[in-house]
């Protein structure tokens, strides 16, 4: 029985939403303990965040309890694969932009992002990368005159 409930909660829409709100709210309150509270008349930097964190926790508890009562499920499957590849492509872009320059970063963005989709066609992605990279360099480097290195050491 205990196992059954636990399994159930893993996909319980409102339970998870409430849990997320409680975690973020609690984190906000805990961190804000390091900031001076002040008084209502002279609010310190910790005053407003502590109130907000507390309120967020309260809403979280309500949503969580409601989830346990209603048992509504998350609709559809979680799209872990698109989420992982899209996130990866953006993170890699940030990482490579400073180190290798804009062109390598763009190539990586397109290939990693395209892997997030249901089908991956190498030639299409290659063509897309070339076209969009030319466009992006034109707009950002020549149009908006942003000082980006294109390749390592080449501006």
């Amino acid at each position: 029985m205990g196992k059954f409930i636990k399994f159930d909660l893993c996909n319980n829409r409102d339970f998870l939403a409430g849990l997320l709100f409680i975690l973020i709210g609690a984190l906000a309150v805990v961190i804000a303990r390091d900031y001076p509270m002040g008084s209502a008349m002279r609010m310190g930097p910790g005053y407003f965040p502590t109130i907000l964190g507390g309120i967020l926790c309260l809403f979280g508890v309500y949503v969580m309890l409601r989830g346990i009562r209603s048992g509504a499920k998350v609709k559809g499957e979680w799209g872990w694969r698109p989420l992982a590849f899209i996130t990866l492509s953006i993170v890699l872009f940030g990482f490579l932009m400073d180190r290798l320059g804009m062109i390598p970063a763009l190539v990586v963005v397109f290939f990693a992002a395209a892997l997030a989709g249901p089908e991956f066609r190498f030639k299409e992605v290659l063509l897309l990368t070339v076209l969009m990279s030319v466009f992006a360099v034109g707009v950002f480097v020549y149009g908006l005159k942003l000082p980006y290195q294109l390749f390592p050491g080449y501006y």
Binding site: G53, G79, P82, I86, G94, D98, A114, A116, V125
Partner: protein, 497 residues
């Protein structure tokens, strides 16, 4: 004639070659991106917004407003041709617009949508010019307490009137407020929630939140949906509506404009509700309501007029009071703040060229939309055939590159990924992002006004209820709560019993 003089000032600003060019680019880009399947106006604005960041304030806002109208109109085009509304505001247009397209009348449907939008846009612009200064003057009387109560009312409205669940809407507002106040506290100089990262002492960037929440999260959601859609891509034979079409759609356009103008000003309602109400109204007054849903031209004209009028008038509270009434307006407000302008009565007086230039360029933008869209319909139809697998990597690229460009700092790009993950999880748990972005934008202002109000009252919280204007906003907020929460509480009790 103050208004006339001001409008002349506005048009001189807007008609400068540079501003006209940015208005045109904005409208063109907005429509171009907005028409692409699966990309709604919010994503369009979030994605293109970093482009305007490198421009001076006036052209940047003019271009942004252009993007906004273009994106909205692009959304109507996809509703009519693909039966795929980019956002809720054009969902109603699908009902009859798509039916008209299937009957081979896509041309007249698009033309009537453009003309109705243009009419509504003209009236909307005029209303901003007339009501803006009045409201701004009234708002000059506001002190910290009034502003705090007004913002509270706006946030309550956005949570209560959101499409999803009210309680989650409130939680999202609070989450947004928390995200908004991260960064250096203006009073004490203390860096809050910066986790030791220097870039975070400036807070979480506005573009990071907008792009992560609306573009990245939306793409992941779209990729895990994978629904088939039937695009109407046959050649459009004749574009021009017949005389009868125009006659049939003239009164619905006027009524739709009136409905939209009212709903646009109200916080939390915005274009979505207005187009729905306008459609229902037409159905009520029609002699033969059974034609609706089968390609009635009134069913295209009224909601299109309504959502465009609302799109215009929603600028009124944003420009004069600094209160955004929808997620899109929150994006505009955030963009203005990034340009160093704090919208409100002071900005209107201190920078008249900005306010009136923007108003004038709104009208020009609406005109450009008609001029641009009618001849280019054929091109838009072809764009609809672009497969999503080409689009989404390009959008991701724009988001990553655009955000990198704001501070030339990779931390912003990492944060986009993080906010994107959070946004996707929240979307999956059916928490609407619109209240969050409103909270995010208003967070720092609310804290500041709360602080000032309590400082003046010596820490006495009754100040919000003893000043008449503030009390009125508080009562309005309370009424909204009671009206919407009462049935939800009943349901909760029923489900528990």
């Amino acid at each position: 004639m103050d208004v006339l003089n001001n409008l002349i000032l506005g048009f001189t600003v807007a008609f400068s070659l540079q501003n006209l060019a940015y208005c045109f680019i904005g409208v063109l880009l907005g429509t171009l991106v907005g028409v692409l399947p699966g990309i709604g106006p919010l994503v369009t604005i979030a994605m293109l917004f970093p482009l305007t960041f490198h421009l001076p304030a006036v052209p940047a806002l003019i271009m942004l407003a252009g993007i906004y109208y273009g994106a909205q109109y692009g959304g109507s085009t996809t509703s009519i041709l693909v039966n795929l509304p980019g956002e809720t505001a054009s969902a109603v247009t699908c009902l009859d617009g798509y039916q008209m397209a299937r009957q081979g009348r896509a041309g007249p449907a698009l033309a009537v949508a453009a003309l109705a939008s243009f009419f509504a846009g003209c009236i909307g612009t005029l209303l901003i010019a007339l009501a803006g200064p009045e409201l701004g003057e009234w708002a000059l009387k506001f002190g910290a307490a009034e502003y705090f109560s007004l913002m509270l009312m706006g946030l309550v409205a956005s949570a209560v009137l959101t499409q999803g669940d009210t309680v989650k809407g409130f939680a999202m507002v609070v989450l947004g407020l928390l995200l908004g106040i991260a960064g250096t506290d203006v009073n004490s100089g203390m860096a809050r929630y910066s986790f030791g990262v220097p870039a975070l002492t400036d807070g979480i960037g506005f573009t990071v939140i907008a792009v992560g929440l609306f573009a990245v999260a939306e793409i992941v959601s779209n990729l895990d949906l994978r629904e088939a859609r039937e695009a109407f891509t046959r050649k459009i034979l004749h574009l021009m509506p017949t005389g009868k079409d125009l006659k049939d759609s003239s009164w619905p356009t006027v009524r739709g404009t009136a409905v939209g103008a009212v709903f646009g000003v109200l916080p939390g309602t915005g274009p979505a509700l207005s187009s729905f109400v306008a459609y229902m109204l037409e159905k009520k007054v029609a002699k033969d309501p059974s034609r609706f849903g089968k390609g009635a031209i009134e069913g295209v004209a009224a909601p299109e007029a309504a959502n465009n009028a609302a799109a215009q008038t929603s600028f009124i509270p944003m420009l004069t009071l600094g209160i955004p009434t929808s997620a899109t307006m929150a994006l505009m407000l955030g963009a203005m703040t990034m340009q160093g302008i704090e919208p409100g009565p002071q900005a209107m007086i201190a920078k008249p060229e900005l306010f009136w230039g923007l108003v004038a360029s709104m009208w020009i933008g609406n005109l450009l939309l008609v001029v641009l869209n009618l001849p280019l319909v054929g091109l838009w139809v072809r764009l609809l055939r672009v497969p999503y697998r080409w689009l989404f990597p390009s959008i991701i690229m724009f988001c990553a590159l655009g955000n990198y460009g704001v501070n030339n700092n990779p931390v912003d790009v990492y944060l986009v990924a993080l906010v994107g993950v959070l946004g996707y999880i929240l979307a999956k748990l059916e928490c609407e992002p619109a209240p969050l972005i409103l909270g995010y934008v208003l967070g720092p202002l609310m804290e500041e006004y709360l602080r000032r109000a309590l400082l003046i009252s010596r820490g006495d919280p009754t100040v919000f209820f003893t000043r008449p204007i503030s009390l009125a906003f508080m009562i309005a907020a309370l009424l909204l709560l009671v009206v919407m929460i009462a049935p939800a509480l009943d349901r909760f009790r029923a489900s528990g019993a």
